[in-house]
């Protein structure tokens, strides 16, 4: 089982062993890059089909189920759809508005996709399987790279010379900047507790055993659970997923900041969005759900990379489920949620994490309820205030 767990690591070592020593570092980099470039866009392709099929089912219709293998009658339940979509987006005309800032307009999709791939490269997708292992700064690198995608959003919106694009970009910037703070503050608790920014170390710290059969995932602690929920909400907003899909709200802004993109550039934006979602899901898994470790000790024989990708698929399905369920927020609701609810909750969560750290020698039966109560009380107070704002709507000008 250990050999199956390390199969990709040994495979890479074997390939590198065949090459002369001078090209080995370069070849190692290339192998890691090509693995990332093959696996995650592959997941993206399947996700587009699965998302459309599941959204269909959520809305009581079958979804795409006709495209199979070309030139045959084999339909594969519609899973050939992404090939057809790919061919379509490759062969479509690439329209650039006459007044667009052509250089920026051209660069914007790449500025979105490249950081997404870079962000994916720091994730430890299995035991000894992190393409880029920054022992001091893994998480910092992730957030720094993630922030670059905001530039791309504004580049696309600004260069298009289109009202909808610009509005979408403005919304995107406001949303991403606002939700970056809860995102980072909620992951900061993990950094506090682990004492390292390295994603590999964070996962390894979560492989110890607690309560008999469980691994000590951070989500099993009060601060970890609250941090996970806060991180998940902020991740939704960072990845522009419903209910936070204001930057590309179809019903209001056509397609938001990529209104003026067509053909393969549009496909790149689409790819970048989904890669961003995978990356942020991967970080959520790494920080709170034990990365590549199994939930129970008796399941440790399952290969570690299978656990990581299983959890990733779970996250993707959950995001699709959310998209099939929730309506879009308004801009003021979005801002209120970030600044008046999530930010204070994140700060309180930091305090709870500190309390948890200093009560390490207490019995779990005492400190668990203590931590939960310290979080539940402010949650209850904040949400009462918040809901009174939400539910009584005052119209200032319309009577």
């Amino acid at each position: 089982m250990a050999s199956l767990d390390q199969i990709f690591v040994t495979l890479k070592a074997w390939v590198l062993g065949l090459l002369p020593e001078t090209v080995q570092p370069f070849a190692g980099v290339m192998i890691s890059i090509s693995a990332i470039m093959a696996v995650f866009p592959g997941i993206f392709a399947l996700t587009t089909v699965v998302e459309r099929k599941l959204l269909g089912r959520f809305q009581n219709r079958p979804g795409p189920n006709r495209v199979g293998i070309p030139l045959t009658k084999i339909r594969l339940a519609g899973f050939g759809q992404f090939i057809a979509d790919g061919i379509k987006s490759l062969t479509k005309e690439d329209v650039v508005p006459r007044n667009a800032d052509k250089v920026v307009h051209f660069i914007a999709p790449f500025v979105l996709v490249v950081p997404s791939f870079l962000a994916l490269s720091v994730l430890p997708v299995g035991r000894n399987m992190a393409a880029l292992n920054f022992t001091e700064t893994g998480l910092l690198f992730f957030f720094a790279i993630g922030a670059a995608t905001e530039i791309s959003v504004f580049m696309a919106g600004w260069s298009s010379r289109n009202k909808y694009s610009l509005l979408g970009a403005m919304r995107g910037i406001a949303q991403m900047l606002s939700y970056e703070i809860p995102l980072i503050l909620s992951s900061l608790t993990v950094v506090m507790m682990v004492g390292s920014l390295s994603l590999v170390t964070i996962v390894e710290k979560q492989t110890a055993v607690q309560w008999g059969v469980f691994h000590n995932w951070h989500v099993f602690t009060p601060w970890g659970f609250a941090g996970f929920l806060l991180f998940l909400t902020a991740a939704c907003a960072e990845a522009n997923r419903t209910p936070f899909d204001l930057p590309e709200a179809e019903s209001e802004l056509i397609a938001g900041y990529f209104t003026e993109y067509s053909g393969f550039k549009f496909a790149l934006f689409f790819l970048g969005e989904y890669l961003g979602m995978f990356a942020i899901s991967g970080v959520a898994i790494t920080l709170f759900l034990g990365g590549w470790s199994a939930p129970f000790t008796f399941l440790d024989w399952v290969p570690s990379w299978l656990w990581f990708f299983g959890k990733l698929v779970g996250f993707i399905l959950f995001f699709i489920w959310l998209r099939g369920t929730l309506p879009r927020l308004k801009v003021d609701q979005l801002m209120n949620l970030a600044w008046k609810f999530m930010l204070p909750m994140c700060l309180i969560n930091l305090v709870v994490a500190g309390v948890w750290h200093y009560t390490a020698d207490w019995n779990d039966l005492i400190r668990w309820p203590l931590g939960a109560a310290l979080l539940a009380l402010p949650y209850w107070i904040f949400s009462r205030r918040f809901e009174s704002r939400f539910q009584t709507r005052t119209y200032r000008y319309a009577s």
Binding site: L54, R57, F58, N60, R61, P62, N65, W321, L322, G324, T325, L326, F341, Y379, W380, F382, S383, R384, F386, E387
Partner: protein
């Protein structure tokens, strides 16, 4: 509390998702070209011509009376009357259409032709898959394509077809009774001619009934 509504919504949509796999009612989509919904009886598309018997062209009920051609609001019917006559289902000599064309691209499916037809000949078909690469010739349909059997009519519009068949049976019985009466009158006249009295009954005079124009439509 914030989040309870989200949880409720998630449960609801999950139920919706799962029920589409178990409950046919929850997934009402009919995948059209593969499976078709049966059309409602009242549906109608474009006119067709009904024929009786085996041969499509010989069995056409149409007598080329051209009422439908004249009544048609968009003037999409074109009829050329035959030179000769043939015997119809009542045993009467009738013209038949040498050419009967309907331009489906002009037809507006108003059903006026059906309502004015005194011979139960033109009826509305339910066929709707009429797409063609040739918008002129392809949508100008001739009597060969228009001819549809009475069995087809009975299948697509059972109630109407039953009424139509009953009306035709009444007509036929009437015609037969009349022929019988005529024959009797003729025999009587012949007998009377043998006798010196020359006063013949007035019914004997119309030997050949005038074609359709004068015949009123049977009330159904």
């Amino acid at each position: 509390m914030i989040g309870t509504g989200i949880a409720k919504g998630l449960v609801l949509t999950a139920k919706n998702l799962l029920s589409t796999y178990t409950d046919k009612e929850r997934l009402p989509t009919i995948e059209y070209p593969d499976e078709k919904q049966p059309l409602p009886e009242a549906s109608r598309q474009f006119p067709m011509l009904i024929f009786d018997g085996e041969d499509e062209m010989k069995g056409l009920r149409c007598t080329a009376c051209q009422i439908c051609e004249k009544e048609c609001p968009p003037k999409c019917i074109y009829i050329v009357k035959s030179k000769d006559k043939r015997v119809d289902y009542k045993g009467q000599n009738q013209f038949y259409p040498a050419i009967f064309d309907i331009d489906y691209s002009v037809c507006m499916s108003c059903q006026i032709c059906v309502e004015v037809c005194p011979f139960e000949s033109i009826k509305m078909n339910t066929e709707f898959e009429l797409a063609t690469p040739d918008r002129f010739g392809g949508l100008l349909v001739h009597k060969q394509q228009l001819a549809k059997s009475n069995a087809h009519y009975q299948k697509i519009h059972p109630t109407e077809a039953a009424a139509s068949d009953a009306a035709m049976a009444v007509e036929k019985a009437k015609a037969e009774a009349k022929a019988k009466a005529d024959a009797e009158a003729k025999a009587k006249a012949a007998a009377a001619k043998a006798a010196p009295m020359p006063s013949a009954s007035p019914e004997a005079s119309p030997e050949t009934p005038k074609p359709a124009v004068a015949a009123p439509k049977m009330p159904m």
